[in-house]
């Protein structure tokens, strides 16, 4: 499967996700500059990496979400191509309207950078099929604006449709209902604040709980 990583000015996890995709699939992704307007033909997975696109100006992800490439990303998402937004990538997906809600400044105002335990809430998506429902995994977070916010009706709707993919086991940033990651209605777009690409191999990362997300993707999104 062909994969692509979108690189924004200020992305800083683009190489980490590229290494993770290459390690798990054996094929390096195509790095696509944000000012481009086309994705590689036949791309099956698009990753929006972590970082600080446009220096988080205006709001985290706000300018990145209006980048030229995002029209192609939105069109691909509508065709069913898997789109994975990690950290700043999640912020961009909400700002682009591909996922509901918004990511606000952490409730404690502090930048949180540590390993956090997560609960897998939905183990049936293309991203989470290698996990068990209710399984506890450990993935690092590193963010200032990870406080997920949406109105109560939206939160109830997400929960009712099983679109909360991951939840923090304990409060990390003040997120509504401890939400760490959500899916779109079709299940082909996932945004999450934790960094699975930083937990790929135990020797280097101290764990490999992130690896199964990519293994699942490459198996299902052939």
């Amino acid at each position: 499967m062909k994969t692509a990583v979108i690189v924004f000015p200020g992305s800083n996890c683009d190489r980490d996700i590229a290494v993770a995709l290459r390690d798990v699939s054996g094929t390096a992704p195509t790095m696509v500059w944000h000012a481009d307007t086309a994705l590689p033909d036949g791309v099956g997975l698009i990753a929006l990496p972590g970082g600080f696109s446009y220096g988080d100006y205006l709001r985290s992800g706000a300018i990145g979400a209006r980048s030229p490439i995002m029209a192609a990303v939105t069109a691909a998402a509508e065709r069913g191509v898997a789109v994975l937004g990690i950290c700043n990538g999640f912020q961009i997906l909400t700002e682009a309207g591909l996922l509901p809600g918004a990511l606000m400044r952490n409730a404690g105002l502090d930048f949180v950078c540590r390993d956090v335990p997560l609960t897998v809430e939905n183990a049936q998506s293309a991203f989470t099929s290698r996990y068990g429902a209710g399984e506890r995994i450990v993935i690092p977070v590193a963010h200032h604006d990870g406080n997920y916010a949406a109105d109560e009706a939206t939160l109830d709707w997400l929960e009712g449709e099983g679109r909360v993919a991951f939840r923090y086991a304990t409060s990390v940033n003040g997120s509504a209902r401890n939400i760490a990651g959500i899916l779109n209605a079709a299940g082909n777009v996932l945004g999450l604040m934790p960094h699975p690409e930083r937990r790929i191999e135990t020797a280097a990362h101290g764990g490999n709980d992130g690896r199964r997300m990519f293994e699942g993707l490459f198996e299902l999104v052939a």
Binding site: A62, T94, G101, A102, N106, A107, G108, N147, A149, A150
Partner: protein, 76 residues
Amino acid sequence: MKLRIFVTLKPGVLDPQGRAIHKALGGLGFAGVNDVRAGKLIELDVADDVSDAQIDAMCRKLLANTVIENYRVERA
């Protein structure tokens, strides 16, 4: 034409920055501050033929995130 766009968090949305400012004011000894909400002021200089509808679209599409923020346009 000069515009001032005020972007504020919707009522009920937690404002951790406002809360921190509130606490710091208390720490400086200022009593009687009931609440603090922090927002943004964005100044635009636009051509005279830019319509109200276009200005409103700028606010909705980029300047404010209407999931969490309200906006108000003031003509200088």
